[in-house]
Symmetry: C2
């Protein structure tokens, strides 16, 4: 099962970090952009090529240090078909490098439409009588729960069938996540209610590691809620955004991990991708990303072991 | 503004119907599939070609009868890059035929990521200093509100800037939509709370027709809530799924419309796309779709005028 693989890699590398791949063009070193424009002009194709080239370097830097990468689909979709091609190539390259791939798409719909999304990313598409992967190499995707169980079950069934998994939004890291997620009903917040449903939805598919394929997104920026949710969701693997740039600190994340230091993975995108900018040294961006990964690992593992 | 255009077309055609374009391969007449396979083999490319060919016929049948089409992104994403190409071509063809295009993607994220989605579909992508449309021809997209205002504002700003609009999920048509949407806080349901926020988010951008760019998805399957929400959301255009196949009847939808018969549009996908199946006459699928559109218009307009 998918979170077993992730757990093993986290334990082996002693690093619960996932590197986000949110390739805005302004993140990409000038020399990579210039080479792509030289070859393809100022086109979407040049953008796609530059994104993939940059991602390749980041993946080379991260392989053997982080267990997973998380491409954010929005930053590929915004370049149209050429962006989607860059995403496909990035996923294939990351897979080849031995990385666990979490695709951040936050998809949601109901019935056969949710099933179509599940097939698209973690299952297989029926194609003239055969079953074929439309987007191969994805281990896990992110899902929005607003539509209730009709919008989740097709993902759970597909994940269980293909040994994949998902992270369902529970308590997100943004300042306004409380607009709806914090409203209380009979003394219980909406996010807590979603959390209990996530435990319930995954209950029939708990793997050897103790986690179901239904993970949860819980922001590093809400340490109290993180602690509450860890206690309420013993079989739920956590994806934790908001570390670093958004203000989440290592100490606040510690309660997310189980007693073996497992059960959660912390995302960092910009601080790892753009580490070279602090040193103003784009030519050696891989080295700076590698150093930033090592520093983040020390920060997290130091806090977990303390 | 975008809902002004839609309102005018609905009034001109006297038809508040949007034809959903959810092209599962089993919906497509055998002769179209066979021709695509003949040319491209049993490949994703053949699937994409067959989808576009089928959609072209449906759009030809619908043009001049319905004001809008709503492609459901999941059914294109499940065919990978070739599916996305078929989606692009479908949007361009629908636009050319004078149809208003609602892309059903239910996207959601926060901050710059939500902005990237907004740029991708209803705005422009910054490309080497220029502003370029990555996915041209889309008038409106669907959005999920679970993340709060951080996840909505980038869409509102982009819509306002480019004269586009969105439908935000409020009370969805599925049986389990109540799992979270119906929970009550201080005597008010979550969907009602979302509804009030939708009114608030759009308040600064109300157009001449009286509607803001922030529309709402409200299911035909919940007529009582539809009536409640119409009263609570006087400046909100409604997208109403669930008519027909899911059990929503014309009489239950009537309260969604304003006193001029405007302010809402009703989706129908399968019953229009597959009308030929009832007659077992795939060769004339366009004619059957046309007839089904006319029957639906009579059903809706009859109920509205009664």
């Amino acid at each position: 099962m998918s979170f077993e693989i992730l757990s093993e890699r986290i334990a082996k590398l002693e690093n619960p970090t996932v590197m986000g791949l949110d390739p805005k063009l302004e993140y990409i070193p000038e020399s990579i952009l210039a080479a792509a424009v030289e070859e393809y002009g100022e086109t979407f194709k040049a953008a796609g090529e530059a994104i993939f080239e940059f991602n390749k370097g980041l993946i080379d830097a991260a392989a053997g240090l982080v267990p997973a990468v998380k491409p954010q689909s929005a930053f590929y979709e915004m370049y149209g078909i050429e962006g989607m091609k860059a995403l496909d190539r990035t996923i294939a390259y990351a897979k080849e490098a031995g990385l666990y791939v979490i695709l951040d798409v936050k998809r949601n719909d109901i019935g056969t439409t949710a099933e179509a999304y599940a097939r698209a990313y973690i299952g297989k598409t029926e194609l003239f009588g055969s079953q074929v992967e439309a987007n191969p190499g994805i281990d896990c995707l992110t899902v929005n729960p607003y539509l209730g169980i009709d919008g989740i079950k097709p993902f759970v069934d597909t994940a269980a069938e293909h040994g994949k998994s998902m992270f369902i939004l529970v308590k997100t890291s943004n300042p306004s996540s409380g607009d709806f997620q914090d409203i209380e009903f009979e003394g219980k917040t909406l996010y807590r209610r979603v959390a209990e449903k996530v435990e319930e939805w995954g209950a029939d598919h708990i793997g050897a590691s103790g986690y179901s394929p239904c993970g949860a997104v819980v922001g590093a920026t809400y340490p109290k809620q993180l602690e509450e949710l860890r206690a309420a969701m013993p079989h739920t693997f956590f994806l934790i955004p908001g570390y670093g740039a958004q203000g989440g600190a290592a100490a606040g994340i510690v309660p997310a991990f189980d007693k073996n230091g497992g059960g959660a993975i912390v995302n960092n995108s910009r601080a790892l991708m753009c580490a070279y900018k602090k040193q103003n040294d784009p030519d050696n961006y891989k080295t700076h990303t590698k150093n930033a990964i090592i520093a983040m690992r020390e920060d997290l593992m130091g806090a977990i072991k303390a």
